[in-house]
């Protein structure tokens, strides 16, 4: 009986210590904390989007249009940015976007080593499921797959359906 009491006391003590320890251990800082600090120092207005970024709505006309069972649905329109979903018979295939890199010029870095071209513009793979073209050394047109059946070849094919030439002339 006494032993039982002692052992339950020990167990409770251990559990309590564990609780205490875990509640005192500070959470490790997030891997995005650096960006937060830099962003705070930069201020809170016009820090992520350049004032001279092209108006988002300008880009809509350069997207591939609806055809047959394929549907394009616009989902976001912000300064220097437009995004749409590509759907087939109601199912999501990919995300399409045009982005004015004036707001984040480092996005262009990946294209320096590009050997591939789509309609004459440099193309690269970005990350594990995205393909992008740099148009007029300024506008990034990209497609990210949201469906396993939509691979790199499909992304390239659909990138070539954008009106890249006209987009390259936008000032």
């Amino acid at each position: 009986m006494k032993n039982k009491k002692i052992s339950s006391f020990i167990i409770s003590f251990c559990l309590f210590s564990l609780l205490l320890l875990s509640s005192c251990t500070p959470q490790p800082p997030s891997r995005f904390e650096g960006a937060q600090q830099e962003s705070i120092s930069a201020g809170n207005k016009n820090t992520a989007v350049d004032k001279n970024a092209v108006k988002g709505a300008t880009f809509n006309q350069f997207f591939p249009s609806n055809s047959g069972e394929y549907e394009r649905v616009f989902t976001q329109e912000k300064g220097g940015f437009v995004q749409a979903k590509l759907k087939k018979n109601g199912e999501d295939l990919a995300i399409l976007a045009i982005f004015d890199t004036i707001s984040n010029p480092s996005a262009k870095d990946d294209f320096k080593n590009s050997t591939d071209k789509i309609n004459g513009f440099p193309a690269v793979q970005k990350g594990s499921n995205s393909t992008a073209v740099l148009v007029g050394d300024r506008y990034q047109v990209s497609i990210r797959s949201s469906n396993n059946d939509f691979g790199i070849e499909e992304r390239k094919e659909w990138l070539s359906k954008f009106d890249l030439n006209s987009l390259s002339k936008v000032k």
Partner: protein, 295 residues
């Protein structure tokens, strides 16, 4: 400076009355909503990305976009946080220790004051408008673009769809039953600007509701409700939603009596902040979805 977007997501409760209520609505939209409470995990879910360097870039970009006040995300967060704040602090404190065991609803009766029908109807309409305005702030459409919002509703998924489901079930079906649309409509049609101004929910968010004055804002609220009405009717019928079905699912964790549904509505008002919870998730999801195309 307000909190970072990763902090807001990482601090969302994993399990509280709000998440239990939302999980109980899974029957209406099976598998649509997962309670993601980790920003990095959300990046992986939204982007399907496996490249660590890319994940870092996407998260960093999302952080910058969120902090830029010209981009609308802060306004959207403010709306989601304020629209169901009034009663929530009180309820959360009272229920802090109740998660895990079945909530004995009758123990709370003395703390609950049911809203009258009018206040309840205004509450639903205000939440709907908050959703509309926040949607436009997040996705960059003009602030009063009712038509675009209605068209976008059919693309709603995950946290956003759950928020609309909860609005219909918790703020519509539970207090009013199947007639909720008619009741809200007739309330709005007979509402004076003074009554609107006296509503706590309205005053807490009115500064971001389009309209030059109370009259204009009331008009905007009525127009929005009118425009979204048929979507809601269609949603209720295509998902076979009824007051009974919602109550049956809620009763898995709340003990209540059937003759006190107005008290159940007041209890849910007080104990949940599902707009803030799922709204934070929607903002983060939208930021990530944008950031992944901007790096």
């Amino acid at each position: 400076m307000s909190k970072s977007i990763f902090e807001l997501v990482d601090n969302l409760p994993k399990n509280n009355v709000t998440t239990m209520v939302l999980n109980s609505l899974d029957f209406a939209i099976p598998g649509q909503w997962q309670n993601t409470t980790n920003f990095e995990q959300m990046i992986r879910e939204v982007t399907g990305e496996r490249d660590e360097e890319m994940i870092q870039k996407i998260g960093d970009r999302a952080v910058w976009l969120f902090n830029d006040k010209t981009q609308g995300y802060q306004n959207a967060l403010w709306l989601y946080q304020n629209v169901d704040k009034s009663d929530y602090a009180l309820g959360a404190a009272a229920l802090a220790n109740k998660v895990g065991s079945k909530i004995g609803f009758l123990n709370f009766l003395n703390r609950l004051t049911p809203n009258n029908e009018k206040a309840q109807a205004i509450d639903l309409a205000i939440k709907l408008v908050v959703e509309l305005v926040a949607f436009c702030q997040i996705n960059g459409l003009p602030g009063d673009s009712i038509g675009d919002f209605v068209a976008a509703l059919r693309e709603y998924e995950s946290d956003a769809l759950m928020r609309m489901t909860a609005l219909i079930c918790i703020d519509g079906l539970v207090p009013f039953g199947a007639d909720f649309i008619m009741k809200v409509e007739s309330t709005l049609n007979n509402l004076s600007t003074q009554e609107l101004n006296n509503n706590a929910g309205f005053s807490s968010v009115s500064k971001l509701i389009p309209g030059n004055n109370s009259e204009g804002k009331l008009q905007f609220i009525s127009n929005s409700f009118e425009a979204v009405k048929s979507w809601m009717i269609g949603f209720v019928s295509s998902h076979n939603l009824t007051q009974n079905e919602v109550m049956k699912n809620l009763s898995n964790f709340v003990e209540f009596s059937e003759d006190k549904l107005d008290y159940v509505a007041a209890f849910l008002d007080m104990s949940t902040n599902y707009f803030e919870h799922t709204g934070t998730q929607s903002i983060a999801r939208s930021l990530i979805s944008r950031a992944m195309m901007e790096v």
